[in-house]
């Protein structure tokens, strides 16, 4: 079975959803949808044994072979892990949504179509070996996320959040595309595997750092790293199943996946290590700090997600640093990669369950505002248990899965300083410190989430609904995940061998050639080392601060609103419409003269500039036709009549003077031996003058009093510029005659081959008769155009766009 087709399976299935919804409306559509991720999950599970042995699967579907663009599905340890997460959690989320979303009130078909679209997108991202198809799926995740966040599109917040998330993630995606293209140019291929194979050569390329930064921008925006995380809290406007799925377990992990996938290519660069580790850690501490300001349950979870993503990101950075360490096996360094993946799994599991609980609370009490909640422990005991398991795992407490990965995280951060790499010996000390602070806050917000909701005093009067435990169906999925948290703690090495190690081997191929070589064995006790005391410190300080939370939580309000990144985004958006509008109005005045001023100035500047820069000036005094006195006189007449136009105040005078100019031009034609032109010019000039008179009978006299001196002076300067430019160019062009004209041919053949005597006329009707044909077409159009103008006068109402 082709793996590529499997990727597309959900989106193909999505086409049938509206049909099912219509035909079998009495059954919740979710039940049909559920089959798909479940089946996929089972299928991908069957691949586990071979992948865990270090095998891989590949399948290819051509898209645009001419441009070397194809869909290549490549499954190795990393891809498979993500695929399992996507389909597994996807199945649970669909199950949850069946009870969460009412089949009568909601437009379920839309919801499931988006969800399936997203599933395809996500599978595509993690399985694509081809950069371009990776980008394709990447954008598809942004789009489906946009649609899902905007699912309740009549709400302002939903639309705002949808747009915000799309803007930021698509921006990252576009930058990432730039990076991909650069990689493609450098390596001559878009295949990730082939790029990894030639990673050492790439490092020397000029574009290398550019590609690195651009790709990281993609990863950071998607994974909500500082300073791009701001879209994630607003994305919580989506229905909760979506938040659980997209904004905690899968989509935001796409950025992590990307960093992990590209580690083999970019690990060479210290920039990569610094950026990924640094931004990751900073994000972790920053978001965990701000999580405590949140009042919305999902808001807290959103910030916690950001923080956890930062944690994993920093671990990935550290695992890239391993590239620079000799004999890495045997050092603690190997923990970084393992911890990253391990924590990623843990996070997906516990955060999924927490979101679902948050959704249950919302569903059953009608609010997510933590200030109104409290004391639900006795009313919703099962939910409480699930929430507690998830939160403790997040806080890093034993006996939950999170504890294990958290420990390894601290180990990795502490050991980073052991190596003399990239000045880690001087600045590196910051890493464990920041990590520690972040962990303390993580501890606090985990408790904050659980205990401020379930413990304390119950305030039924503030709740829109009477609180009670959720139906069993809705509890099914979170309970399953909570149990999984426990299981992971019990059998960490099984998880490690089957899931984590293959993935680690894919991230660090420069160390391991097969998953079995990953020398990590997860233990519960490492002895009383630095990490141990750090953990104890976290618990102690964290508990103390949580106890006093109500006292110092208010101090968050002191932080000025104007300095937040959210405000920055709002300002940017404001700038993009109102600001752009104001800016645009500065020059889009609607006044033709200003436009002409810009245009003519541009023409003068650019043509004269080119003229000067390319040294094009020339005057050739040879080959000139003789100057007769007579020509001078006519020229003076021409100039005189033109000046008359310029200074006349009467419109009739101006028209007559224009006629005079036309006639002198005709006289020039006579002098320069162009009888046909002279004839035509004369008649046309006469008719034009007549038309001027006809059309302008009703027009008022030219009044010039409103044209101020400055106005006129400005015009004169520009006009002079155009005149000078034309003169200079004409002089140079005349002097630059380099090649004899083709018109010799006409002179020689006109009588013998074209059977005519008047060369101009023969050119017009024969040699270049095609011109003439369309020239009379122009005349014809002008004719019908003028008739239409005069005869067809629609009122405003008739001009509306519809036939009555």
């Amino acid at each position: 079975m082709s793996l590529v087709l499997l990727i597309f399976l959900p989106i193909i299935a999505a086409f049938f959803i509206p049909l099912l919804y219509k035909k079998l409306g009495q059954i919740h559509t979710g039940w049909f949808v559920l089959l798909l991720p479940a089946a996929l999950f089972i299928y991908y599970s069957t691949l586990l044994p071979s992948i865990a042995d270090g095998g891989s699967r590949i399948s290819e579907l051509q898209w645009i072979p001419s441009l070397d663009i194809a869909f290549i599905a490549y499954i190795d340890g990393l891809s498979l892990l993500f695929s399992l997460l996507i389909t597994g959690i996807g199945a649970l989320v669909v199950l949850y949504s069946i009870f969460y979303l009412d089949k009568h009130r909601e437009q379920l078909h839309n919801f499931y179509v988006y969800l399936l679209m997203f599933m395809t997108a996500m599978l595509g991202v993690v399985q694509s070996d081809h950069l371009i198809s990776l980008y394709l799926f990447w954008e598809l995740t942004s789009i489906s996320s946009f649609l899902l966040i905007g699912y309740w599109y009549t709400r302002d917040r939903s639309r705002f959040g949808a747009l915000k998330s799309m803007m930021i993630t698509v921006f990252g995606g576009l930058m990432m595309l730039g990076g991909f293209v650069l990689l493609g140019i450098m390596g001559g291929t878009y295949s990730i595997r082939e790029l990894i194979a030639q990673a050492p050569e790439l490092a020397g390329h000029d574009f290398f750092v550019w590609a690195l930064i651009l790709i990281l921008l993609g990863a950071f925006t998607k994974s909500a790293q500082f300073p791009f995380y701001i879209w994630l809290p607003d994305a919580m406007e989506a229905p909760t199943p979506v938040s659980a799925y997209l904004h905690s377990a899968t989509m935001v992990k796409a950025g992590l996946y990307l960093v992990a996938r590209f580690t083999p290519i970019f690990a060479v660069s210290s920039t990569w290590v610094w950026l990924v580790t640094g931004i990751g850690l900073f994000t972790m501490v920053w978001a965990s700090f701000w999580a405590l300001k949140q009042k919305d349950l999902k808001g807290i979870l959103a910030y916690s997600t950001v923080s956890q993503l930062g944690l994993i990101m920093s671990l990935l950075g550290a695992s890239a640093a391993a590239f620079h360490v000799e004999d890495v096996i045997g050092t603690y360094f190997v923990y970084a990669g393992f911890a990253a993946i391990f924590h990623l799994i843990n996070h997906a599991v516990f955060k999924g369950s927490l979101f679902m609980v948050a959704g249950i609370i919302d569903h059953e009490t009608g609010t997510r505002d933590i200030r109104k909640l409290g004391g639900l422990m006795s009313l919703m005991p099962i939910s409480f248990t699930i929430a507690m398991i998830g939160a403790f795992s997040m806080a890093g407490l034993p006996p939950f899965g999170g504890f294990l990965s958290k420990e390894m995280f601290l180990t990795a951060m502490v050991t980073l300083t052991d190596f003399n790499l990239f000045q880690f010996d001087t600045w590196g000390i910051l890493f464990p410190v920041i990590a520690w602070i972040g962990s303390v806050f993580t501890f606090i917000y985990s408790f904050y989430f659980v205990f401020h909701t379930f413990a304390g005093k119950h305030k039924p009067e503030e709740l829109p609904k009477k609180a009670h435990e959720a139906p069993i169906g809705m509890l099914l999925s979170p309970a399953f995940l909570a149990i999984l948290v426990l299981i992971i703690f019990i059998i960490p090495n099984v998880v490690g061998d089957w899931l984590v190690k293959p993935a680690v081997a894919a991230i660090q191929p420069f160390i391991y050639s097969s998953p079995q070589e990953v020398p990590v064995n997860v233990g519960y006790w490492h002895g009383a080392n630095t990490e141990f005391f750090m953990t104890l410190g976290i618990f102690a300080v964290g508990f103390l601060m949580f106890w006093t939370l109500r006292k110092w939580q208010k101090s968050y309000d002191l932080y000025p609103d104007g300095l937040t990144l959210n405000r920055l985004y709002d300002n940017l958006m404001f700038l993009s419409d109102a600001g752009a509008n104001r800016f645009s109005r500065l020059y889009m005045t609607g006044f033709m003269r200003s436009y002409l001023v810009y245009m003519f100035s541009f023409v003068v500047i650019i043509v004269l500039g080119t003229f000067v820069l390319n040294d094009a000036f020339a005057i050739d005094m040879n080959n000139l036709a003789p100057v007769g006195l007579y020509e001078i006189v006519i020229m003076l007449v021409l100039v005189g009549s033109t000046l008359t136009i310029l200074f006349s105040k009467s419109r009739l005078t101006a028209i007559i003077a224009l006629g005079a100019v036309g006639y002198t031009v005709a006289l020039f034609f006579v002098i320069f031996r162009a009888p046909d032109l002279a004839l035509t010019q004369l008649v046309i000039e006469t008719i034009s003058v007549a038309l001027f008179l006809l059309a302008f009978y009703y027009l008022p006299q030219i009044s010039r009093k409103e044209e101020r001196m400055r106005f006129r002076l400005g015009n004169a300067v520009i006009a002079l510029g155009v005149g000078v430019t034309m003169t200079l160019v004409a002089l140079a062009a005349h002097s630059g005659k380099a090649i004899p004209s083709i018109s010799e041919f006409y002179k020689e053949t006109v009588y013998t081959e074209a059977g005519g005597g008047n060369i101009v006329n023969v050119i017009l009707v024969d040699y270049r008769g095609f011109d003439t044909l369309f020239e009379i077409a122009v005349l014809g159009i002008a004719g019908i155009g003028i008739i239409t103008l005069i005869k067809l006068r629609l009122t405003k109402k008739e001009g509306q766009h519809e036939n009555k």
Binding site: P675, D676, L679, T680, V683, I684, T686, I687, A690, L691, L694, A695, A754, G755, G756, G757, N758, V760, N761, V762, L764, V765, D766, G769, F770, T772, L773, I776, A777, L779, G780, A782, G783, I784, I786, I787, I790, K791
Partner: protein
């Protein structure tokens, strides 16, 4: 106010005739001496304009009940048809044919398909310029 231009009207009668003769002459002469369809057409127009000047637009319309749009369309079609004849013979578009004939009375004369094309040009020019002048003249 209405004035009657006896002088103008009388002169016009003679002059229009002269102009039309001249127009026809210049049209036919075009291939060998200055002139051609354009100028011929424009001169014809001026003759008609002169008539309008002298006798008023409605009178002229009665004398020459021509739909000028149709006239220009016909002219355009003639021009296209002349040029397109070559498509039938599968030679490049616009290939003209001509030959010298010994006609009685005229002596050696060349018959040229370009002349037919020029007829098209002539008609279009007359049609369009008259369309323009008439529609504007008729309007308010």
């Amino acid at each position: 106010m209405k004035t009657n231009d006896v002088m103008l009207k009388t002169a016009t009668k003679v002059v229009t005739f002269i102009i039309l003769m001249f127009a026809v002459h210049i049209f036919f002469a075009g291939h060998y001496t200055p002139g051609g369809g354009f100028i011929g057409g424009l001169l014809t127009t001026s003759a008609i304009v002169l008539l309008m000047l002298a006798f008023g637009i409605d009178t002229v319309k009665k004398i020459l009940p021509i739909n000028y749009v149709v006239l220009s369309a016909v002219g355009l079609l003639i021009a296209i048809a002349t040029a397109s004849a070559s498509i039938v013979f599968d030679v490049p578009f616009f290939t003209h044919a001509y030959d010298y004939f010994d006609l009685p009375l005229f002596g050696e004369t060349s018959l040229h398909s370009a002349l037919l094309f020029d007829v098209g040009v002539y008609l279009v020019v007359v049609g369009v310029t008259m369309t323009i002048i008439q529609t504007i003249g008729e309007d308010e």
